[in-house]
Symmetry: C2
């Protein structure tokens, strides 16, 4: 039989037991750590299994292929990662909405840098596992928000700016603090750990970008 996970015949169609729920969660958490640190090819099933506290065959009982674990972690992460963009309110104040968005993205980079790195690594290597997602769901979402931003520009609520490049700039800048963390630390040294560092970062980033796009009369 092909499917590894099944239930007693005729039972609920929802095919997960208590133990499955627990273990899949443990595995995915371990996998995020490992994959984000070493990349797909650089990670071994054994590493993930050890971090998850179980044997390799046991892990493979839940995810029969290494690819399966990877894709699942990636998809789970992606959904969460994009949500803030979706939450930009077309009827809000443009500058305020973008301030909120940038703040949120910086906070996510701070709190879950592994997610950012996992994603960055995937894209960097050509996004073999999610190119459909990029061209489909992501493009649609970005197109939508770009339209909103363009309207804001037309209404003179923002300086004339290309919406797509603005979005790229926000992504690039905010994720930089997660993806290039070691470089940031090498250059800034211990001040990265000082309290208030993240607020200071947010202020600097927001300052430049928002001043760059505020309408000039």
């Amino acid at each position: 039989m092909a499917t590894a996970l099944k239930r007693k015949g005729g039972s609920k169609s929802e095919g997960t037991t208590r133990i499955q729920g627990i273990n899949r969660r443990i595995i995915l958490d371990a996998a995020l750590e490992v994959f984000s640190a070493y990349g797909f090819r650089g990670s071994t099933i054994d590493q993930i299994a050890t971090k998850a506290g179980m044997s390799k065959p046991n892990l493979l009982y839940y995810f029969p292929r290494k690819q399966n674990i990877y894709v699942t972690v990636l998809e789970d992460t992606l959904e969460e990662w994009l949500r803030p963009l979706d939450d930009i309110d077309p009827d809000g104040d443009p500058v305020e909405e973008l301030r909120k968005y940038i703040t949120l993205k910086l906070k996510m980079s701070e709190e879950k840098p592994e997610a950012s790195r996992l994603f960055a690594n995937e894209i960097l290597h050509g996004a073999p596992a999610i190119s459909d997602f990029l061209k489909g769901h992501l493009k649609k979402l970005v197109d939508e928000k770009a339209t909103v931003i363009r309207r804001w520009v037309d209404e003179r609520k923002l300086a004339p700016v290309d919406p797509y490049h603005l979005i790229f700039m926000i992504w690039a800048t905010t994720q930089h603090y997660a993806d290039f963390d070691v470089q940031v630390r090498a250059i800034l040294g211990s001040q990265v750990n000082r309290p208030g560092f993240h607020e200071q970062t947010a202020q600097a980033v927001i300052g430049i970008i928002l001043n760059g796009i505020k309408p000039r009369d």
Copy 2:
């Protein structure tokens, strides 16, 4: 004997022959392509050898370890990659100097995205091979330029802005177009290939950042 490459005894101390010069160049070019596409762990010596048009043992005759090839490519790349920052003229016009710098970085991302990706991948995975370089040479260079920018701010030639975060933002944004190329393409589609796309990108990026840091009276 430990050294693989040697010359006829007592000859010139410059230990490279004609063939060595040619082949090392070929290997390093092939290695940049392969490593930037697949990362260190994801690349095989065989891949590089094939792309270089020689057998694996032959490649290993020139670089006895996979690490050696990688580190050599990385160092060669790094030097070139940082040069534009070094070229910022402390006595030039601030806005003009930064415009030049951003333009140059965007051009490099367009013309040699592999170099950017190689570097991004290394940093993303903790920079095991170049952390000394980051904390030494790079930090020194950035500190130097940050001082210049800070002086420009003090002289009211730029709006008050944190020099380090400004530099990070420029790096992040310009390299984004190389490192996240597939994502940019997925979202913008065919217009990425239209003539003038890069000029348009430059204009958008420069527009936001420079407006963001121009002194406001």
